[in-house]
Amino acid sequence: MTINEKQDALIEDFDLFDDQLEKTQYIIDLGKKLPPIAEEYKTDENLIKGCQSRVWLHTEMRGERVYFEADSEPTAQISKGLVSLLIKILSGEKPEDVANADLYFIEKIGMSTIITSRRAGGLASMIVRMKDFAQKQLIA
């Protein structure tokens, strides 16, 4: 599946719920299924700045594709859910596709204020960091 096909499938899943609270519940439940990041990756360098909740992101290149692992502190369950969605959509894709991805699913599932608001800030920074990493692979 391409990034957009994955996003479309996700939007379809969320369309099953009419209520934003149910959508949020679904995000929380998805977060619970996110495999924990390896302790060795929970470094200061991998910590996303500007988060109300702490989020770590590990990036790596395997073959032709970029892979991401991430986790948030355990109490930040909505962040964790959103982190799991971003990983689902972007991890294992080609660098150029990640770098150029238009993540329209965020708005469609009603989460744009959480991801983009400056105070909540960190997830937007996480996206920037994922894209930056992909961009660097293109240059290298």
């Binding site: 934003q20 609270l21 949020t24 519940q25 929380i28 109300q52 909740s53 502190e73 109490t75 930040a76 369950q77 909505i78 962040s79 204020t113 959480i114 105070r119 909540a120």
Partner: protein, 405 residues
């Protein structure tokens, strides 16, 4: 007795629907909503007498000038300031503190002098002093607090010495609602010859302010937390101190005479009001103060205390919820944490139920560190809030627990 339902009709925004739910606005410590008379005053100013003030000789300029200066008189009475020229218009509390730091601080503080602040301070009453200390080699000292969020006055007294040149403390904590004993602080600081600035950002909508009774040297606040417009603040200062302070922004309005060789400065308060001021918001401010005075400060405070007691009881009954900030003297601010739940998640799920609260460190990172917290969720009540809305908050928080527990 205030008629709260009638008061609510004065605030059109309270009828907004968010996420399909009626808005419950509990973010009043961040900014209060504005009554219709303030909104109308803004429209009326721009619609009928917008003009630049003070130097114009035409009708509109005259009208705008007198409305602008009428607000200054209103604020003078509101603060019980001895003189009208002691009321300097600023862009807000932060701007007022920076003015004092840059003008008073840079002129009168020197290496080794001490500035005392408290653990409860908002970043806006920390950073300007740190910048000053860095420049002048002054020392910043911090009054500690107890676990309830009250200042340790004994420790404060021990800090005072002839090196203390300025004490700058918050009247009411934005994060916890603690009311500080500012009159006592002023008295003790004056005993060692220090000047005192009080950050009244969170106080003016809840407490009667009398700068003469307090005897403070500076008092700063923002109007947008007092049912008035944003971008409008006040610095009160004692005449003799303001007179001695140099202007810190140069430009129009603040001058008497300019030649390329030398400029003489205007008198108070204009010396500190360079450039075209925020005329519309200054004009509309008068209506906000009128509104508060009409309801009565005492009646507002009594009603808000009723909400605080009701809210404290209601939230205390929620298992796993802990109220942060339990000072004996506090305004209608309820900060809280919930076991195992991140404040941000609380904010998001309440928002989806139409309830606006603030989450995070509330621009008081050192305070959060002292309390061992990353942040709190904060519900802050204003005169238009109701017990029914607090009931909705309780239901909302039960939902939070159900979703995240």
């Amino acid at each position: 007795m205030l008629d709260i339902q009638k008061i609510r009709q004065d605030f059109p925004i309270l009828n907004e629907v968010v996420h399909g739910k009626s808005l419950v606005y509990f973010d009043n410590a961040a900014t209060t909503q504005k009554p219709l008379i303030v909104l109308e005053a803004l429209a009326n100013y721009y619609g009928h007498y917008n003009a630049n003030i003070h130097r114009g000789i035409h009708f509109l300029a005259e009208k705008a000038t007198s409305a602008f200066e009428a607000t200054r008189h209103k604020i003078q009475i509101f603060l019980n300031a001895p003189r009208v020229e002691e009321i300097i218009f600023t862009y807000g509390t932060t701007d007022g503190i920076n003015l004092v730091a840059q003008s008073f601080g840079r002129s009168f503080l020197k290496e080794g002098d001490e500035i005392i602040i408290s653990t409860l301070e908002h970043h806006s009453n920390i950073v300007p002093w740190q910048m000053l200390c860095q420049e002048k080699g002054c020392v910043l000292r911090v009054i500690p607090i107890n676990d309830a969020g009250e200042l340790l006055m004994d420790e404060f007294e021990k800090m005072l010495s002839e090196r203390t040149k300025l004490v700058s403390v918050v009247h009411v904590s934005n994060a916890l609602g603690t009311i500080n004993p500012v009159a006592e602080i002023v008295k003790k600081a004056h005993n060692v010859g220090a000047k005192v600035l009080i950050d009244g950002a969170q106080a003016t909508s809840h407490i009667d302010i009398d700068v003469q009774a307090l005897d403070c040297d500076f008092y700063v606040f923002s109007l947008h937390k007092l049912y008035g417009p944003t971008g409008m603040g006040v610095l009160y200062g004692k005449t003799e101190i303001l007179e001695a302070m140099p202007p810190y922004r140069g430009g129009g309005e603040m001058i008497k005479e300019v030649t390329f060789e030398k400029t003489t400065y205007n008198e108070l308060p204009y010396k500190f009001e360079a450039g075209t001021p925020n005329i519309a918001d200054v004009v509309a401010t008068k209506m906000a103060v009128d509104y508060v005075e009409e309801l009565g400060k005492k009646a507002i405070a009594d009603y808000e205390q009723e909400l605080l007691v009701y809210g404290t009881d209601a939230l205390s009954d929620i298992e796993g919820l802990q109220i942060v900030g339990t000072a004996k003297e506090k305004v209608s601010v309820l900060s809280f944490v919930m076991e195992g739940i991140h404040p941000q998640d609380i904010g998001v799920i309440l928002d989806q139920q139409g309830i606006a609260v603030r989450t995070g460190h509330h621009c008081t990172q050192p305070l959060m560190k002292r309390l061992g917290l990353v942040g709190t969720s904060r519900a802050s009540f204003a005169v238009y809030n109701t017990k029914e809305e607090i009931d909705k908050l309780v239901v909302g928080l039960e939902r939070v627990k159900k979703m995240l527990g």
